[in-house]
Symmetry: C2
Subunit: 656 residues, 2 copies
């Protein structure tokens, strides 16, 4: 398991690694053994890298792709786009990193819209010394027209002279990070450590999150918050949408005095009722904003919505823009942000700057698009000072694992959203399949099931005056789902601690852990939730699905029913969730909100044959700051009683 | 009405004009008056051109866009793509040409994937001396959150410092053609004359066209052809799909002996029954093809479907590849081709070459993608010798007006297909909303209505063993629609003659002729069919629609009902088609096929108040070759009897 850095030519100045935190892994300079078949070249087009791949290699990654998990045979152009409707590589969060099931992954350190051709065949005389194993190319002889469409699709598998062809426009050189490892999970973990390790949210950030109607006045916000407590529905964070500002497209960053005459009182009232407070914003600065004049010198040359585009790579921006957020919003008790529109609505409206825009830091518009979300959240994270958070953002990119922001989208296809959950774990990203409106009761429940089993359990009701479950008459079911969520927060917090310290993604595709089982290779609608659970959401509109389980024994999380590995046809009203046999799973008594004083009463569920020394861990932090100290409690099924300040083991439940 | 050529820097070698026919218009070198506000620059990104536009200018063009007619405020990246699912500029046939309703259009002579930002605002200090008229930007003061989404969408209209920003990657210089004119119609006509004038199909090419099931054997093809004659349904061309070959993905270009043991006999039988014969192909050369070995030296460095990618820019390819088609297919009586897959299925499969591929002519993959369809059809057109044709193709691009090929798509959204009809006329392209399967009877009829009122009346039954109207039990209605089509062939042939000699597109958006009526500016679902008819297809799934008619009197083509200009709500079973008051419309007695001996019996329909010297024209050609001589018959409502060899005026019908 190693990370190699291969430099070719002279890389550009503006690259993701320049703005990323320090790597937390060893980096070996130079070409690794076994990778000598790579071919580098430059032309007026930019840099081209050919990376040999076996004909049967699976290829994963490229960021928050919503249409496909396995990219073999496909072209992906790594382009940020707010409305990625096709399977082209466009996404809210593109990442020039891919990982194979053949022991390696490749990160290309560029802020350019690089193209990856995931397995193309050169004419033999152009392919150099390459002679890949496992040529699965179709027999060229003997087929006639009866199977014309077979051959059409067959070739995608690749042939003898297959490469991943990477094109990086404009650049005259490039740094490639070639990462080796025994499993996709371990290779991605190394990529995440190269990114500075995974983020560590405060525990409350993993609780339940509700964003209010953008038209709400202060009393309406407080009323909906009150309803959560009154109806006994867990909720940790209340978010305000654009309407808190006087102008939002572009943003004024000033409280709207009509709807929020006393914002400090509103924030206080929410905090007193044990809510954290998150404010929506997008970064373009409206002419009426007090930030407009002071930010002129720190902005790009194009306007968006008549507003300035801040250059977040500059120290001046961090000081002026970040300072404003700190002095005016963080100081009053706001401890989270939702950062909208930084993914570039290039093709939606005129809601972004051109790729040829110029920024004072030296980036052009293309590079700035790739870095926009990353730099924006760095400024806001700094404005929050030493408070950990878990915010929302619509763009991230390379080397982003350490950032405490979860991606979301204005798209709303439920299948796409689940594919997003699966894919996010390949590229150091967090993603929520957030819930907005629902077509009907079933749609709402299916969507809430999926968000509850994701890194951020988020309901974004920004155009809904009432809680959506009220409308659909399923408050009891939804309450129960949120309670399940809070019961798993200690388990999930532990998974984040692993992410933070080892790079292992808390939510990831099955192929990450089970690549030796061929059935795992193309699964795009199931995922690991922590190390011990497999989640297989039923897509809205369906009442049943097939589930694939790896070899071994698995247990239904809700019913305890036992399954052998293989494919199961499932017709269920709840969400299919499975726990691996041999697991000690810590399940907490649900709580309505999480504070530092909260002590979780934990029942240990022992699934199947659990030996006496089989264990799980539970992590507690000393505070919500970045300097927190962590205690890792090792727990066997014999553990009982109070552990540290956070956990109280109240019993064991054997499930066989 | 003038065409100016403005050179900046040193343009690339491989540009569309290098491969285009000689212009048929005067070209003035240098900057026109009124265009001095353009700003040119270069950087390592390539060439950038800023073109000032009024805040309220409409912007049209960019080739076969299927999602939108008016592009103001949008970004379009001019990228060929076989599956353009979003509104991004991707299309089968991208063209770096746009036209405004402010007296000018701009063609950018590049084979690069240029980006057009159609109205972006620079910060005033970056905008130079520009101070555009008609700033429609929203008031920046006084709005509060209640109308946040208003301001979101309002800004798209543009502000004081608005430009079309054009980015041409890689290039170090560029030729821009700046075309002035009083109307969009005239500006586009000039662009088409710059392209060598519009194409002039043989009259049979405008008849009805049926493509057979790809699995058909020879007897099944002859049977379906026979059914047309037996059932009295007009048909001029029979097309064969991939199954005629031994291998199709990639192509062998060899008749499949199982299904077509005696291809010459099959072709002869079709020709004897008055059908023209069109063969499907795609250009990638299968290893088993007799063309493989001789074409190795004339091909690019990547394989597609294991096949060679011919470099059609080379004389050698024209000789070897074109010569093969001539000697083996044209010689046996084939007189049309359908050229598939040349649009690049970049994002669909691995069914094309990368943008960094290298071709012997010196083009890279990006440039070759932009030129692929153009060069491919040039080779096939040459192979056909001196026979005019009207084929099908899935990619064209710049300066393509003179090419006798109609675009089609594997997409099938009916609304998108109608938008394609409207847009094709802005960019020198022909497009057919071809009919394949249908959901139901109504779907089939709506789709056939639209294809009948397009440049190519095409049913592509490549996966349908029976004629689709048999399945849906509407043979009589469909026969009637095809008969209407043949009754308008003389009228349409006349419109093509205008296209050929003046550049005026035969099918075009209403805004081309009526830009002074603001209601025309955004219409994306009605079009002019020739000079005198407006077609407003009812999109499949609907039974009614609104129709906008320009000022003046209009008459329903089918019923003769009179309408005043304005908006009408229409609920109809047929397709809404209108004829302009004052028109003499030549309507032929339907024929089942068109031969050189065919004489059209024409009834002159005089709509509304038609003065004695009001006239239309009818054109006849001396033969189907490129050297044909044309006779233009001027016809008033007093004209009668035989005219030349083609037309016989049998009567006048007054419609008031």
């Amino acid at each position: 398991m190693s990370v190699y850095k291969i430099r070719y030519g002279t890389p550009e100045e503006i690259v993701p690694s320049k703005f990323a935190p320090a790597p937390k892994c060893e980096i070996i300079e130079g070409m690794p053994e076994g990778a000598e078949g790579m071919i580098f070249s430059t032309s007026k087009r930019g840099v081209e890298v050919l990376i040999p791949v076996d004909a049967d290699a699976g290829i994963y990654g490229f960021g928050l792709q919503l249409k496909r998990v396995q990219h073999r045979g496909r072209k992906k152009m790594i382009r940020p786009n707010a409305d990625p409707s096709g399977d082209t590589g466009d996404t809210h969060a593109p990442v020039p990193f891919f990982v194979t099931n053949k022991g390696f992954g490749v990160y290309v350190d560029t802020a350019r819209y690089a193209s990856f051709y995931c397995g193309r065949e050169l004419r033999p005389e152009n392919a150099g010394a390459i002679d890949n194993e496992n040529d699965t190319s179709p027999d060229v002889e003997g087929k006639d027209a009866s199977n014309i469409f077979d051959t059409l699709y067959e070739v995608r598998k690749g042939g003898k002279n297959s490469f991943v062809t990477v094109e990086v426009p404009i650049a005259e050189g490039i740094d490639i990070y070639y990462i080796t490892g025994d499993s996709i999970r371990d290779i991605v973990a190394q990529y995440n450590m190269l990114s500075g390790g995974g983020c560590m949210p405060p525990m409350w950030g993993l609780g339940c999150f509700y964003r209010c109607d953008m038209k709400f006045r202060d009393d309406q916000v407080l009323d909906i918050a009150h309803q959560f407590r009154e109806k006994d529905i867990p909720c940790d964070i209340i978010g305000l949408e654009p309407g808190w500002q006087t102008r939002a497209y572009s943003s004024s960053f000033v409280w709207n005095p009509t709807n929020f005459p006393n914002p400090q009182e509103t924030v206080n009232a929410l905090r007193d009722d044990h809510f954290h407070v998150s404010l929506w914003q997008q970064s373009f600065i409206h002419p009426t904003s007090p930030l407009y004049e002071p930010m002129i010198e720190y902005s790009g040359d194009y306007l968006v919505w008549k507003g300035l585009v801040p250059d977040f790579a500059l120290e001046g921006t961090k000081k002026v823009f970040g300072g404003y957020m700190k002095d005016n919003l963080v100081s009053m008790g706001v401890d989270g942000f939702k950062l909208d529109e930084c993914d570039g609505s290039d093709f939606t409206g005129s809601w972004t700057f051109p790729n040829c825009a110029k920024f004072p830091c030296g980036a052009d518009g293309e590079q700035y698009h790739s870095l926009f979300g990353t730099l924006y959240q760095q400024t806001l994270t700094e404005a929050l000072g030493n408070q950990r958070t878990l915010g929302e953002i619509r763009n991230l990119g390379s080397l982003a694992a350490s950032y405490p922001y979860v991606l979301y989208s204005d798209l709303y296809g439920h299948k796409d959203f689940i594919t997003g959950v699966v894919n996010s774990g390949f590229s150091g990203l967090l993603w929520t399949p957030e819930v907005r409106h629902a077509e009907n009761r079933d749609d709402l429940i299916r969507r809430i099931q999926a968000t509850v089993f994701s890194v951020q359990a988020l309901v974004n009701a920004f155009y809904l005056p009432e809680m959506p479950w009220e409308k659909h008459g399923c408050t009891d079911e939804v309450r129960e789902l949120f309670r399940v969520r809070t019961s798993l927060v200690p388990y999930l917090f532990n998974a984040f601690y692993d992410y933070h310290t080892t790079g292992k993604a808390p939510v990831r595709a099955l192929v990450c852990d089970y690549q030796n089982e061929p059935a795992s290779l193309d699964i795009d609608d199931q995922y690991l939730f922590g190390d011990s659970m497999i989640v297989a959401p039923i897509i809205s509109g369906n009442t049943e699905r097939d589930v694939w389980l790896p070899a071994g024994e698995w247990y239904d999380f809700f019913t305890g029913e036992k399954f052998e590995g293989g494919v199961h046809h499932r017709a269920v009203s709840h969400i299919p969730v499975y726990v691996k046999g041999g697991t000690v799973l810590p399940v907490a008594e649900p709580v309505n909100y999480i504070e530092r004083e909260t002590v979780f009463d934990i029942t240990l569920r022992a699934y199947g044959e659990v030996s006496d020394d089989a264990f799980c861990t539970l992590v507690e932090d000393s505070d919500d700051s970045y300097n927190a100290e962590y205690t890792v409690h090792k727990i066997t099924k014999g553990t009982g009683g109070k552990l540290g300040n956070r956990y109280n083991i109240v019993g064991v439940e054997e499930i066989k």
